[in-house]
Symmetry: D2
Subunit: 401 residues, 4 copies
Amino acid sequence: MKKLEKQQVFKDPLYGYIHVDFELIKKLIDSSLFQRLRRVRQLSGVQMVFHGAEHSRFSHSLGVYEIANRFLTVPDIKKALSERDKLVFLSAALLHDIGHGAYSHAFEDIFGVNHETIGAALIIENEELRSILDAIDKDFAWDIASVLKKKNKFPLIEQLISSQLDVDRLDYLERDAYFTGAAYGHIDLDRLIRVLYIKDGQVVFKLSGIHAIENYLISRYHMYWQVYYHPVSRAYEVVLEKIYLRVKDLLLSGFKFEGNVDPLKRVIDNPNDLSSYIEIDDFYINGLIASFTKSKDNILKELSLDFLNRRIWGYINDTLENKNKIEELKNYFKPEELKYFTSHRTVENSTYKDDEEKFGDKIYILLDNGKISTLKEQSKIIESLMLSGTKTDPKFFYRKR
Amino acid sequence: MKKLEKQQVFKDPLYGYIHVDFELIKKLIDSSLFQRLRRVRQLSGVQMVFHGAEHSRFSHSLGVYEIANRFLTVPDIKKALSERDKLVFLSAALLHDIGHGAYSHAFEDIFGVNHETIGAALIIENEELRSILDAIDKDFAWDIASVLKKKNKFPLIEQLISSQLDVDRLDYLERDAYFTGAAYGHIDLDRLIRVLYIKDGQVVFKLSGIHAIENYLISRYHMYWQVYYHPVSRAYEVVLEKIYLRVKDLLLSGFKFEGNVDPLKRVIDNPNDLSSYIEIDDFYINGLIASFTKSKDNILKELSLDFLNRRIWGYINDTLENKNKIEELKNYFKPEELKYFTSHRTVENSTYKDDEEKFGDKIYILLDNGKISTLKEQSKIIESLMLSGTKTDPKFFYRKR
Amino acid sequence: MKKLEKQQVFKDPLYGYIHVDFELIKKLIDSSLFQRLRRVRQLSGVQMVFHGAEHSRFSHSLGVYEIANRFLTVPDIKKALSERDKLVFLSAALLHDIGHGAYSHAFEDIFGVNHETIGAALIIENEELRSILDAIDKDFAWDIASVLKKKNKFPLIEQLISSQLDVDRLDYLERDAYFTGAAYGHIDLDRLIRVLYIKDGQVVFKLSGIHAIENYLISRYHMYWQVYYHPVSRAYEVVLEKIYLRVKDLLLSGFKFEGNVDPLKRVIDNPNDLSSYIEIDDFYINGLIASFTKSKDNILKELSLDFLNRRIWGYINDTLENKNKIEELKNYFKPEELKYFTSHRTVENSTYKDDEEKFGDKIYILLDNGKISTLKEQSKIIESLMLSGTKTDPKFFYRKR
Amino acid sequence: MKKLEKQQVFKDPLYGYIHVDFELIKKLIDSSLFQRLRRVRQLSGVQMVFHGAEHSRFSHSLGVYEIANRFLTVPDIKKALSERDKLVFLSAALLHDIGHGAYSHAFEDIFGVNHETIGAALIIENEELRSILDAIDKDFAWDIASVLKKKNKFPLIEQLISSQLDVDRLDYLERDAYFTGAAYGHIDLDRLIRVLYIKDGQVVFKLSGIHAIENYLISRYHMYWQVYYHPVSRAYEVVLEKIYLRVKDLLLSGFKFEGNVDPLKRVIDNPNDLSSYIEIDDFYINGLIASFTKSKDNILKELSLDFLNRRIWGYINDTLENKNKIEELKNYFKPEELKYFTSHRTVENSTYKDDEEKFGDKIYILLDNGKISTLKEQSKIIESLMLSGTKTDPKFFYRKR
């Protein structure tokens, strides 16, 4: 577990500095695969509504690492993890998004891949990453992959990386709030860390910190409904998905594209073609979409112009009372256009899915008498948030003429 | 001067909201040319050191507009400008960077174009912009172009848009500080606005606000030396410039590129080919550089890999005492590589030029007795900053092997 | 409605500046009675837990005024209020706490006075205030008093000054959060102002702003339970109340005090003795308590030492299961001490009362179809917060030996 | 060096939390003498201009302790200090202002005492403090006193506690900026700590951090001229000083006061009467001044009314060209009033003295070659600030009629 001669830092607008002590972490950050995350923005369509939200998964990943680093100051975590475990934790935190491609959700939906599976595969198969990780020991890469795939070999680390209150969410809520300028989303991280304990291998929070958890969950609730589920963001993501859909259909029909669609083609042919997959970053996709604005295919051309020039689609609530209106809207399109120019959607098939209903059962509270309860049992406000959190906000989106 | 039925706002992390009252402004923001600024990042190489600095010229341009909007609350400005003048001011503030391309400085240096000239030309020649601006009156587009070109038709507006203390700098210092996380760069905008007066057509600041101005200039000094002139940022910009240089040389030699270099070619052939120029945004250039990583030309390939994988070049002070060392470093390269893999540079040929020496003479102070003096005469600290601000920090940059 | 020649400002850490345009407001701020609020701290016992919370009602009152000032930019409010009404609104906002004495709640409970009644009386009877207010017109003072007493002469202004979402709360939640350092309590004031409308004389908020209201109410909920109802704050307030109680009992028994208790005596004798009442600020009471530390009366002496040296009392939940423990604790005290050294309390008899149950019914939401609904009907999260908000947290407090 | 079972924290608006690990520190904080600092405000007259600045020396002292605590993470400091030395450092940081009385500067000037001497004496002589400190060892109290008196027994700790860049200044600049709302005064503490080294027992800062130091000194410069030396603050302090002067003269003449002036009298008779001295806090003095508003002595009465009702005195520059005007102003007063109702002052006899001229020579810079230089030699901007920093801003203050 070799340490750097001198701690290296990265200036961060949220935490002041990101602190790097281990040589391993430094090398992972410098790897091409991690640097590639600079070219994948964190919030797809959201930046069309909140212009400040232009930050990348690179910044976010550094932030998640820094929070993991601060979690390591918690006495119970310090005790529970060996030195090697700590490195597993920090590395997994840093690399948790390594498999993300451009506008992942839409991409994955259309092309049938999954960024988590790909992330784990990259950690095992990418030569550069592998040579860095193998320097620890020959199982190290596999162990990080196992954490990301939740194989239950490191149950505590898995909880810390991915659960209802984890290092990933703690960074992105705060970071997305900072860059969007949303008034909500501020989290009392210091307090949460101070009330975090490990009991029988389970992350628990002391009852005295319950207000900080309530506040975190309500911030999350507001960030989802105010920012991530903003109808204009959703409209914008629909456009992107339709572009992918049209590209896929054209590819399968043997259409001749002007831009270089080879990496996409190879991924469709073989979803395990990792080297092609990692070429597909925002820079690549955006360049491609720019080239599509001159496409001979009119549908692709129009969708691409919508995307680049921010022609936001229309939307209305997809409810019974709007049934006729929606039919009318659909009638404006030619049958062959309908598939590409309209969409019925709920937030459940949005980029930002949040299984809100269950959070109260999955966050554990350590009572003063030493017993463990759930958040839902201890907090009326959360119990009710769980009940209120089930709305799916179905909307019909359509290209405006 | 048609107003929107209801004021429209954009959530901004710095100012809370950007407020839009005029239909004209709304339409300009929605135009493709303005939306294109989303695809041009504000800080080229700086983001390689300060990972938070991923914001675009779109955000910055909205910010400059908002500050102009607030300047319109200053009694003296209100009085000095007609309703039409106000629209000229707001539009010019919004559009001041409309001619920016990808990584402009390096681009302009190599390809011999100028974003300000292009910006003015776009305002006159771009059909979409023109149809929006002509709705005010037939001279309106020309008037905005004249402000950007400083033709002295609107001397007051020109001062407010571009001088030693203008709406452009007030936004970018504050915004770049916010996104980088730099501790410096915070400006007391409210105070500056409160002490701003117009005297004989000249922007002046009351003596009682001199501390706010000192603070602004020192923040600016720190932002330049801490952020914009950070040696790693400068090293990164050198790489970019070398890529442009190699592309240009290869183009002239008739080399066959893999990626689509047509827009670049057309701009070289005809610097007035505006429609080609505006295709050259960050998305396009980054996609191109990605394609260069597979180039048959080795120099282009290596430079592109340096750029994408953040292989930072080395640098040492370009001083007499390092003369031998620099010669030694140069000897490692083949003669034909030298032009592409090494660079002697001062901050004066950096992307971020700041004519610091003169600021004290160009900011005017309104004394209590009604006379006008200069900042330099009134502030010893600024007088000395002017003397101390002349360093050029010459450095020799070289590709690491 | 005479305006100042030049707008005057006060630097404020929350809002940047407090802006004063009217001569009337300037004169009210400069009056002795308003300056007296510098000597009355905003948060009594809370500062014993949150050491930053040392701010006065003076700062808060300026803040409430500033928010009122910003409310006047709302189109519907602008339309609904005449020029004179606006001054009534601003003055009432500024003076709403003018009747506050030192540690008011405890004081009022023991001595049977009420700061709102006194505030209204002061506005009518204080010579200096009266001469300032009469300069507007002879009814002006009476109108402000009528607003503070909610006489329904100015129903809209009364709503804006004191309701479930009013200028008073908007300032104190944000201000108390700022000074305590509480992570919660941040309110999206800009957004709330943007969605505020007047409908049939009723303040309503557009449905699209419901998240900002939810966030406000949840911030309020957290500020109450995290800050205002912090058990140590409550313990500290109990001590203060017991001091007042002992002083009162001793006064009635003819005890000879060392300090100057005359103003207290006169207020007991005649609760309408306003000139004595306004002498009773924090400076006076704290000086008095300091003098009590040398009192010949042992109970008063001990209570005063507890207060000055922050000897926090003990507390346990006042529940059935603790019944025996409480009895045991009581047994340590002599019968004559019990009244002064122990206390059964719920948050309902705390300084900070918050009628939480009803807020959802009293905030009105303007639906897209123009109909008016209540917050409770529109927000499941608020409906449930209303249900969850009924806890009274009964505690038994006792002097530690 | 007994540690607490569980780290205790105090919520702080600047640093999130103040962290207490040692039992000793906890006990010192709980002592009556330290709690007394809650009753001594940090900024005397400044709060009359900046209404937010109502914070006490208690908050500031906790803050200085916290910064000292963070300094202990610096590798070189960790190495240089034994465990006991660390406790000496933390305790001295916490107690550095323990000798402060109400409105100290004016008080000390008139009554001939000195808060630093008194602080050291209290540490040795106060029973409660002594019993806490003696628990470490019998020399401990003496060692802390020796640090505060700069006896050179602990030269490194003395530098850290009190020099041109010390834990005291780092807290108060940041804290005073936070509470006043001043736009300046923000310091990059993290960066300063990262570049701090010890070389031959001397605190030095690496050249790479020179911008953070420049920024600190310029912030300090702005805080002094914008906040501490604000003419209205100075005017207010003059009033206070005149009150003290009048009280002293009346005491010596045997005047019968209405309020309890005994503690003052005892301190005049015997400046070493510590138990009387510590009774003199803001609460006491403010109570006293309130009682003076009914004094039979007219001068004392008027001064006290000026103080309580914020009747700010007038002021003009005390320059040759204003000589006649000043004479004229003096002529309005009766000869016996002149001493109490007028004052010639420079910032050098202000509460806030800042020996600015020398800072550049006293901050040491560690060059890349290992040699030590001074800040002045390395920073042109500081060199010039030193030259510009000599202004004394002489003003004549006078009671307005």
